[in-house]
Symmetry: C2
Subunit: 253 residues, 2 copies
């Protein structure tokens, strides 16, 4: 499998490029509109054709490039079926792998950051979106989030993967790029080290995070598979269209 | 490829088990005598046969189990040819991959921690021994170590691997298990972030590390592919034979 971990600096998002060396097909997990040209150039540089975009959830901190990529290169939009987006081409759900040549993604319903959040597992790695970050996790106070649900998602679905399964998160704000299930079980200060559900719920309830600056624009835009609303203030329009300064809060608070 | 990252807690050493699913052959990188029973049990649990032990260098903080494994299950002892150990079966050198079924290790001569140190690269990962640790590196003040040599090894050999190449270190003292070339280039406080050769040499010269407690026993023992010297004090004998308390210093100081 061809693999690239790409970083979008405005929202500190990791986008993952997975390519099938047999068929030349590629997919992008969580592509960001700000980096659409860079991502497309990388797909082309590798001699691949973009077959799918795959989002882990309805993002609140950036706009997905799924729709624009579909318009530019004809890729199909795959999102959790749970979110019931009319703009999607493929609805993903647990138990139904997405296959693209020799590349397979196994969706794992991992609610808690959002209710429709899915992680995508392969044999040796898992793309955890905002459910599990390196030494962190996504916040649980919007989009039908739930600390109890996130605790169960991480413990029952992600921490039950093999110890050496590599963890590729949806974001990192300190340049960390990869972890493993064993590492997060031991070191994650929110969810690892034997922390109980009750302790996690209390910790998340006491974070006292500010209201996310971009959420009111990003969520409706992403429910349309990636549209910058027309009525955005100029600075946010620039951000949405990939030229602005950093406007987002960390989704882990 | 079958893959396991195993941890030996007395010396905080990572031992890597690599298995070929076609042939059932396995090898262990940097196995520690203290964990010989656990490692053999894991090989057997996976239905594999141990074909090789592979050491990255002459260790100063623990005794390799290479010789005992050879005596118990007939595995062949592979070490850097540079070290010219009469007890070895296979001398590894850069440019000559070790092949075991579909598993291939590409030796990279990475002197600096010791003069004979080799890392072992695969397509998507590299076992860096003590040349490059997660946010650290091995010390350079014994065994013909050299900060200048280590800087060149890391920059020319390891940092020139693909950005997404996973870094599996020889040790970690904080439960971190995996990094990537991109992550170490950016975050390694000794060798990354644009630090110059001169800065690195100065930093290593100023570490003022204590004399390693176990080195006078470990180095001759490991030059015999893993023998606990007869004349060890009782406590060190126990450590050497896998029952003792932690006796080692961190090789990164």
């Amino acid at each position: 499998m061809i693999f690239r971990q790409l970083f979008e600096p405005l929202s500190s998002t990791y986008t993952y490029l997975l390519g099938c060396s047999d068929t030349g097909a590629a997919l992008l997990i969580d592509p960001v509109v700000n980096s659409i040209d860079r991502d497309l150039a990388e797909v082309q540089r590798l001699g691949l054709t973009l077959a799918y975009t795959v989002d882990t959830h309805i993002h609140a901190d950036h706009i997905t490039s799924a729709l624009q990529l579909k318009q530019r290169v004809g890729s199909r939009i795959a999102v959790p079926a749970f979110d019931a987006l009319p703009c999607a081409d493929v609805g993903l759900q647990e138990g139904q792998p997405l296959r693209m040549g020799s590349v397979e993604l196994r969706p794992l319903h991992t609610p808690g950051h959002t209710d429709g959040h899915h992680a995508y597992a392969q044999v040796d790695r898992v793309f955890t979106g905002d459910a599990l970050l390196i030494e962190g996790c996504g916040r649980t106070d919007f989009q039908n989030g739930s600390a109890a649900a996130l605790y169960r998602s991480v413990h029952d679905k992600l921490f039950s993967l093999p110890e050496d399964c590599m963890v590729y998160p949806g974001h990192d704000y300190q340049g960390r790029r990869v972890s493993s299930v064993a590492q997060e079980k031991q070191r994650n200060p929110r969810l690892g080290g034997g922390r109980t559900l009750q302790e996690f719920e209390q910790l998340m309830a006491e974070l006292k995070l500010p209201y996310p600056k971009f959420i009111d624009h990003a969520v409706p835009g992403n429910r349309l598979c990636g549209v910058c609303p027309d009525d955005l203030p100029e600075q946010l329009q620039a951000y949405c269209q990939r030229m602005g300064e950093r406007m987002t809060d960390s989704p882990q608070g």
